[in-house]
């Protein structure tokens, strides 16, 4: 099952390498991974998307917790949460298809953030599923480049992952 694990960890060099190393070493999957400092510069927040059986996910959270630099973590998929991913797609946009691309981007609430005579760069934010759906919807156009940020997530309501 797909899981979103949010990790608060010490903002120290080497911490990220330990997380990535752990996944490689123990044969866990990483579907996406994002990391950046928080409002407290001594802490980084990482969001990891992974999949596996319940047993594997349990081991992943336990093994992550065991890393000395990991302060706290939560499996966001255990509760209601918001997830977002940002994507930028550079597409060939010429002729009749150009207008159609703009319309499709609008429907998905995407923004065209860069334009040339023959290309559009469309920015889109949403769940990973929505981004996949958009790529599907424009599959008849020439996609030149796709860049995705990976998933970030946060719990709904009063629940927080903080010290």
């Amino acid at each position: 099952m797909r899981r979103i694990i949010s990790v608060l960890m010490e903002n120290e060099s080497g911490a990220l390498a330990r997380v990535v190393g752990l996944f490689a070493q123990r044969g866990y999957n990483i579907d996406s991974l994002t990391v950046a400092p928080t409002e407290d510069p001594t802490l980084s927040r990482m969001t990891l998307v992974t999949h596996g059986s319940d047993g594997v996910i349990e081991q992943i959270t336990k093994q992550l917790n065991k890393l000395i630099e990991v302060v706290k973590l939560v499996d966001l998929s255990e509760g209601v949460h918001i997830e977002r991913e940002t994507m930028m797609v550079k597409v060939r946009a010429s002729g009749a298809g150009r207008e159609e691309l703009k319309r499709t981007a609008d429907i998905f609430r995407g923004q065209i953030v860069d334009v040339t005579a023959s290309t559009y760069t469309i920015q889109l934010t949403g769940t990973s599923e929505k981004l996949d759906a958009f790529l599907d919807a424009i599959s008849n156009t020439t996609i030149m480049e796709v860049v995705r940020s990976g998933v970030s997530g946060i719990a709904r309501g009063d629940k927080v992952l903080a010290l």
């Binding site: 010490e10 080497g14 349990e58 081991q59 065991k66 000395i68 302060v71």
Partner: protein
């Protein structure tokens, strides 16, 4: 107090490092000098509190430190240079990691401004060691050294122990750059808080299940030794009158000669231990990790049993086998709480069922009971050699081993009555461990009998350390069970490859007697069974010499019982001709 005496001492990074070790009560540093650690070695030279032990290969330094830790319970300390010094230490770090042994490994590093330039003797030690350390630090400011060392020891020794690497670029230890030295009394880390006690509700549940069990067994591992809970375990087992089995790492935690002890369990465990496990309805696992060498096929493991699992490391619980009643906590405090609950419990134990259970166990004991054939060879049997060594040392020696058949024979036939006396590489299975391990123990316990049980294959992986033994007067005894083969490899080739001995024959062995003599020690070759006892007596009587006994043993011998791979606990080969 005058103002001057309150001003902090000004020390160089190298001096701060050595002083930090002193503050931690470190007695020995095992190591080997080199370019990146010369400043540290100079600081070491100018003090007398800490003894440096110069090995002949960095791997040996790590095993010495590791065995010091296994025997004493305190972290061992290693000091090696950058590049090859550090990479040579990696096997020893991995060995300690797999067996959860506290160790501090200080590795030199090239000047900080050269890092990343492929400088001479540069290697990314943080990267290379990452998968096999509990944690690692790199020093970026000399002033941080005391705090880093405090954290390193705290992490290495607390919770589930393990090795910690401290990588120090050479410019962090420059003699002329002095900094105020202050060693912290305590260190607090928001991201690291090992559990201090178990959940009392879970402990209650566990006691209830244990007392209601009809066919109970205690299965205990290295965690009992690391957690110094052998006394509590023994007390609880005696109160309950339940059978006890130990893992390879847990031997000695419960007295090996106690009538409740059913022997080691697992791949080469005793018939009675594996049968009792398989037939049990309640298994109390204490400080054990359900290793594949214990469980055989995990999905077939002891299906009738309620499994209670006590461990300090939550990730160990339900990793390989699901626990019905998990308890995360230090084994010592959890066992203490259990003992109190048992004392006050009103549950009436089913003594009739327990009587029947013991009757079955006794029958299993009688069926195999660690027997081996003595009528099929004129040569010495390796099992007998260990039995004799055990008898002549009253089961009271520190025994280290290498890896292979001799290791299993030592585990099966040396009856350890005390914890911390059986020292072997259980998890990683590192050949070359035995001799340096024996050295680490002998140096710290010069008056104790220390025996390295080894084979002619393993001993040659660190035989250069006989030179270190000479330098430091380490008068240990080496029991070389010489069968001319890599015995365990050969055993598997006999069983699975129609005796095609692909590279398991050790060609062109040295004359060990001459070899050890050239190192300045005493060598003896024993070929006849009748010579064994006198030779052992003579060797043990030579307190002031290292004696290397090259014992020629039966080359066709196999280790039995042996679990049939991918089977259940109870599926075993009992000899070359019998299976369950």
């Amino acid at each position: 107090m005058s103002e001057a005496s309150q001003a902090p001492e000004m020390l160089s990074g190298g001096e701060m490092l050595i002083r930090s070790l002193k503050e931690e009560g470190v007695e020995y540093v095992y190591g080997y000098p080199g370019g990146s650690v010369l400043h540290i070695y100079d600081a070491l030279f100018q003090q007398e509190d800490i003894q440096h032990v110069l090995v002949r290969h960095e791997q040996a330094a790590t095993h010495m430190a590791d065995a010091y830790a296994r025997a004493s319970g305190k972290a061992g300390v290693v000091l090696v240079t950058s590049g090859p010094g550090a990479t040579n230490a990696v096997t020893g770090i991995a060995t300690a990691y797999m067996d959860s042994i506290p160790m501090i490994v200080i590795t030199g590093q090239v000047m900080s401004w050269l890092i990343g330039d492929d400088a001479f003797q540069e290697t990314d030690m943080m990267g290379i060691s990452r998968p096999v350390v509990k944690h690692s630090f790199t020093v970026r400011n000399p002033e941080d050294l005391p705090t880093i060392m405090k954290k390193a020891f705290y992490i290495a020794e607390s919770g589930r122990p393990g090795p910690v690497v401290v990588d120090i670029p050479k410019d962090m230890t420059t003699p002329n750059d002095k900094y105020p030295f202050h060693y912290p009394d305590k260190v607090k880390m928001r991201s690291y808080n090992p559990v201090q006690r178990g959940h009392s509700g879970q402990i209650k549940k566990a006691v209830q299940a244990l007392l209601e069990a009809k066919r109970p067994i205690l299965y205990t591992g290295g965690g009992v030794i690391l957690g110094q809970a052998s006394e509590e375990l023994t007390q609880m087992a005696h109160m309950l009158e339940y059978p006890v089995t130990n893992t390879l790492m847990g031997l000695g935690a419960f007295p090996g000669t106690d009538k409740q002890f059913v022997g080691m369990l697992g791949m080469h465990g005793s018939y009675e231990a594996n049968m009792a496990m398989h037939n049990s309805d309640c298994i109390l696992a204490v400080g054990a990790r359900f290793d594949d060498r214990v469980t055989n096929k995990a999905s077939e493991f002891c299906k009738d049993a309620t499994i209670i699992h006590i461990d300090i490391d939550p990730s160990t619980i339900s990793k390989n086998v699901d626990a019905h009643i998990p308890i995360v906590g230090p084994v010592k405090s959890v066992l203490k709480e259990m003992i109190e609950l048992i004392k006050g419990s009103k549950v009436v134990k089913d003594t009739a069922a327990h009587g029947d259970w013991w009757k079955r166990i006794e029958e299993w004991r009688e069926r195999h009971g660690g027997r081996y054939r003595t009528d099929d060879s004129e040569l010495l049997k390796p099992q007998y050699v260990i039995e004799e060594a055990c008898r002549l040392t009253n089961g009271d020696a520190y025994v280290t081993s290498d890896v292979g058949q001799h290791q299993m024979f030592a585990a099966q036939y040396y009856k350890f009555n005390k914890p911390n006396r059986w020292i072997n590489s259980g998890g990683l299975g590192t050949m070359g461990f035995g001799l340096p391990a024996a050295m680490g123990v002998k140096m710290n316990y010069p008056d104790e009998e220390v025996i390295c049980v080894t084979g002619e294959g393993s001993i040659q992986m660190n035989i250069q350390e006989l030179s270190t033994c000479k330098q430091y007067d380490l008068n240990l005894k080496v029991l070389n069970l010489n069968n001319g083969y890599l015995g365990m490899v050969k055993q598997w080739q006999d069983l699975n490859y129609e005796s095609r001995y692909s590279h398991s024959y050790v060609d062109s062995l040295p004359d060990f007697v001459k070899l050890v003599e050239s190192y300045g020690h005493v060598g003896m070759k024993i070929e006849k069974p009748s010579d064994l006892e006198p030779a052992l007596r003579e060797a043990f009587a030579m307190k002031d010499r290292l004696v290397f006994l090259d014992v020629v043993v039966e080359p066709t011998e196999h280790v039995y019982p042996m679990q049939i791979p991918n089977g259940r606990m109870c599926d075993m080969l009992l000899s070359k001709t019998e299976r369950t």
